[in-house]
Amino acid sequence: MSRLEMSVPNNAQVVLERLYRDLEHRIESSTSGLCPIDMSKAFLELCHAQSCGKCVPCRVGLGQLKYMIRDILDGKGSLDTLALMEKTALNIIETADCAIGYEAANIIHRGLIAFRQDYEEHIKQGGCTCQYEQAVPCVSLCPAGVDIPGYIALVHEGRYQDAIRLIRKDNPFPTTCGFICEHPCEARCRRNMVDASVNIRGLKRMAADLAGEVLPPPCSESTGKRIAIVGGGPSGLSAAYYLQLMGHQVVVYEMLPKLGGMLRYGIPNYRLPKNRLDDDINVILATGVKVQYGVRIGKDVTIQSLREEYDAVLITIGASSDKKLGISGEEAEGVVSAVKFLRDVGEDVELDFTGQEVAVIGGGNVSMDAVRTAIRLGAKKVSIVYRRRVTDMTALKDEIEGAIAEGVEVQTLKAPKKIEVDEKGHLKGIWVTPQMVSKVENLRTTVRPTGDEDVFIPCNTLIVAIGQDIESEHFAEAGVPVKSGRIQAEKYGGFDYIPGVFAGGDCATGPASVVKAIAAAKVVAANIDEYLGYNHSISCDVKVPENDFSNRTRLGRVSMTEREVGTRIHDFDGVENGMTEEEGKQEASRCLRCDHFGYGVFKGGRESLW
C-alpha cells in the first residue's frame, strides 16, 4: 500500500467532463422565446444536483423552490407561492454556506423580479405567452433575415449563382458580407449541439468567390416615382437596390468620389478588397440606380429642396464624424481620428509611418482596423491603449488576435489622461492613468485607478477610435428630429410629422454593423414603397434543394486560413484565404437544415418574400 496515489480520472469522470462541455454547447445554442420559468426550474435542478447537501438551506431550500416553481407551472400556484418563494430565496442567499447555495438562490431571486409578469401569467392564465421564436436560429439572428439554410444547400450542390441570387433577396451585399459580416447567425447555430457552429460567413464568401458575375433580377414595371437617397453607404445602396427593383427611380447623393461609405472608406482593403466591394456595388447600379457624386447635404443641396423635387427622401448618411476624447492636447498635430485616418487610406492619400511609433485609443473593431493599417504603413511600433482588459474589448475576437499576431502591443488598463504636446504644437505622447479591475455592474466589469502614478507612452501619431457620431446640424435645422447624435426616426423608418422623409442605418441607430444597415434598408424600402401607394414584394425564384438524409456524424468546423503574417503586413491585400471547394462542400454538409427539421417545418421555416 503506497502512502500517496496519482489520481487518474475514471471513465465516469471522463464522460461527466464531456457532459459539462455538451451542456455549455447546449446553452450556447439555446433559443430565445423559451419559458423563463421552465428554464429557471431546469437550471435550479442542475444547481441542486451540484449541492454537497451538507447545509439545510441549500439541501432543502433549493428543493422547496423547485417544488414551488413546479406548482406554478402546473397551474397550482398562487401569489402566496410567489411570496414564499421570495422569502425562501432570500433565506438561502443570506444563510447558505457556499456559493453553490447562495448563487443558485440569487438566480431564482433575480428571476422573481425580472420574470414577475411571466410568473403571474402562469398563475392567472395557467400558461405563459412565451413562444418558440427561433424556428431557424441562424435566420432569426440574421438582422437581414437571409435564407441561410437555403443558400447553404445551394452551395452544397455547387449552385453558387443561385446561392448569390437567394442571398440578394434579403441582402444585396453578398460578397461584402462574405468578407466582413459579423455573422451573428453563427452564435446559436444548432450544430453547436453536435460539435460546433457552421462557418456560415465562410460559405457565403465561397459562393461569392465562385459564382462569377450574377446579374440582378429585372425591375418591376416603372412606377414613375422618384426617390432621393442621401448617402451611398450600405444602407443607402441596399435601399436603392430594392426600391429600384420595385420599379421606382432612385438617385443616390454621395459626398465622396466613390460609393460604399464605411465599406470603402472605413474598412481597410486587407479585410475587404475594394475590387470585391465593387462587385456588389456594380450589381446594385446595374438595376438602374443613378448617382450624383460629390454632393454634400446641407451645403450643395438641402433636405427641403430634395423633398420638393422627389416623391420620397431617404437619409442614410451613416455615422462618419468622430467622437472626441475630451482631454487636453487633442487638437495637436499628430492626433487624428480613426475615421479620418482610415478614410485617408481609403482615398489613397500617401501616408508613410516608417520608423514611427503609433498609439491607438479604443478597443473596438475600428481600433483594430487602425492598428493593423498603421502596421502596414510601416510603423516601427503600434500600441492599442485601452482602459479595460482584452476580454472587455468590443472588437471581434478574430480581429484582436489578428492584430496581436501582426505585432501590435496591447496596453490594457490604461486610461488616457492628457496628451503631451511640444512647443511647436506637435504630439509627443500620451499620459495614461493605470487602472485595476473593480466591481461587475450590469455584466460589465468596471475599472478604477490603482493610485499609481500616470505613465507616459511616447508616440508620433495618436489615433482616436472611441466611436462615431453623425453630422446632424443640417437635419436639425431642417426640422428632422435629432437627439444624442442620432436621427430619431420611428420604428418604420419615417417621421410622423414629416411625410415622405425616411432615415435608416447608422445615422438612425448609431454605429452598427453592415448587416444591420442592410436590415434597416429593407424596412425603409418596404415602407417607402407603401408610402408611395404600392405593395411590391421582393422574392427569388430559386428553388431551395430538398434536405438530404446524410448521417449527421460529428465533423469539425472548417476555419478559414490567413496569409502568413510576415508577408501580409507589407501590403494591403486580403488577409483571409477563402475555403477550397472541397472544404466548402464538406462545411455545407454540416448544416442541420433547421428549415426542414424541427419547428421550422411547422412555423417560421422560410419567408419566401417580403
Partner: protein
Amino acid sequence: MVNLEIDNIKVSVPEESTIIEAAESAGILIPSLCYLKEINEIGACRVCVVEIEGKDKLVTSCNNKVANGMVIYTNSPKVRKHRKTIVEMILSQHDSNCVTCVRCGNCSLQKLANELNIINVPYEQEFERRPWNKKFPLIRDSSKCIKCMRCIQVCDKVQSVKVWDVVGTGSRVSVGISGNCKIEQADCALCGQCVTHCPVGALRERDDTEKVWNAIDAKDKVVVVQVAPAVRAAWGEELGLSREEATMGKIVDALRRIGFNYVFDTVFSADLTIMEEGTEFVGRFKNNKTKKMPMFTSCCPGWIRFCKAKFPHLVPQLSTAKSPQQMFGAVMKTYFANKIGVKPENICTVSIMPCIAKKGESNMELYFEEYAGHDVDLVLTTRELNRMIKTAHIDPNTLKDAECDELMKDGSGAGVIFGATGGVMEAALRSVYFLITKKNPEPDAFRIVRSSRETKGWLSAEIDIGVITVKAAVVNGLGNARKLIEALEKGEVHYDFVEVMACPGGCVGGGGQPIHDGEELAALRGKTLYCLDSNAPIRFSHENQDVGRLYKEYFEAPLSKKSHLLLHTNHNNWDM
C-alpha cells in the same frame, strides 16, 4: 419520374412526391397521426417514420421527398419497434378512457394502437388537465390531445381565423387559445373544422342529446324537429348505409321512432329564406346599394361570426334575413303553434344541423309579443343525431321512407342545394330571375355558380337577368372569404351578391358532419344534393306551395312588417 424501391417493390412516382405518397401508390399504407395532406406536414408524431437504407436515423415519410435509387423499408424491425414505442409514448399522455369517448370506434390513435398490438403502456401515464367552459358549443379535452397541431393548422391555413396556437415550451407545450385568452374571447367562428380534423376525441361539439331526450320525455312539451339539407347527404356514413339507402325519408322515420312529435325538413324554410333574401337583394340592387359593396348571404352562422369579429364594418352588408334554421324556429313558434293550438312556450324546437356554429346561433335571446326565448331551443349535429339513433337501438336497416308532417311539408330542389357551396346563390338566382322577369328560367340555368372545395379563392359569375346583369361571387372556407373581402376592399373586384359558407365545400363539409380521418367528402356529399335537386318535383323556392300558404295566411308578403319582425334580424344585436 423518380424510381425507387419500397419494401422490395419497385416504384416509379412523379418528382416531388413524398415517401408516404409513393408508398401509397404501391399499395403500402404507412400509418400516421398528425399528417394532413398539404395542411399539416410537420412530422410531429413520428408515427410515419421509415428506414432508408444506409441512413442511421429514421425519416418521416409525410414530409420528406423521394429521390432516385432510394431503398425504403416501411416495416423493418427497426421501424416497427420504434413506431410502437412512439405510440406508447403518445398513449402515456392520452387519456385512453375509450368507452366514454365520442370518437370511440372512429379514433385514429385507437385504431393504430390496436394495429400495433399495444396491450400495455410501459410508461407512467400523466394527462394534462386544463379547465374548459363546458357550456361553449366547442369542447376541448386537453387530456385527450396528442398535440398533432392539426387544429392549429386548419384554423390558420384553411380558415385564417387563428383561434388555436402552440402554448408553452418544452415538456409543457400544448395547444391553447391564441393570445392566452379564453375560447369565449377568441372570436372563434365555430366552424368546427378543427373538430372534423382532430384524429382523436380532444375536440368535439357540446353534446346536447340529453337535453333533447329530456324534452321528448317531458309530458307537456311538443317537440318539433327540423333537419338541414346537408344532413341527408352524410348521416348514413356512420350507420353503415350507402348513399342511395340513406334517404331523408329514413331520417324522418328515425326521428319519429325516437319520439319527436313533428318532423320537418329545413328545405321548407330554405325556400322561405330565398323569398325574403331574394326580395331583399332585388331591393338593394335596384336602389344601387350594391354598387360599392355587395350584399352577403346570412345563412351561415360561422360566416356571420367571422364577419362580426374580423370585419365588423361589413355587418350592414349582410342580408338581414335570418338563416333557414332560425326562420323555421320562428314559424314553428308562431304560425305552426297557432295551427296546432299549442302555446309557443310548450313547443320545444330542435334542429339537426351539419354544423357547430348553429348551436351558437340558436343561443340568440329574443323577446317578441308572440313568444320569448329562442327561435330554436336545441341544436344537434349530424353526429349527435346518429348517436341518438344508436341510443334508441334503432337498426338502420329497418328504417323506411316516411314523409314530413303537414303544413310545412313542401320543399324545392333549390332549398336542398343550400347544403352545398354555391347552392344558396343558385337557389336565390332562380327566384330573383322570376321576381324580375315574372317568368321561370331553366332550372339549371345558373349551374355556373356551383363551386367546390377545390375552387381556388372564389368563383365569380356575371348573370344576365332580362336587362340587368348581376355580378355574383361564391366562396367557401373562411380563408378564401378573407381573401375575397380584401380584394373587394382594395377595389380589385366588385360584386353585387356574394354567398359565403364558412366550411370548405359548404355545409356538406360542415363541422358537425361525420368524421373520416384523412378523407374530404364534401364534394361527394354535394353531388348527392345536386342529384336530389335535379330529380325534385319543384325546382324553384317561389313555387313552394306551403310557403305560399304561409305568406297568404300569416306573413302577407316577403319583407312585410311581420316578416321583418320575425324573419329578419339585426346582426349587431348579439354578442359573440
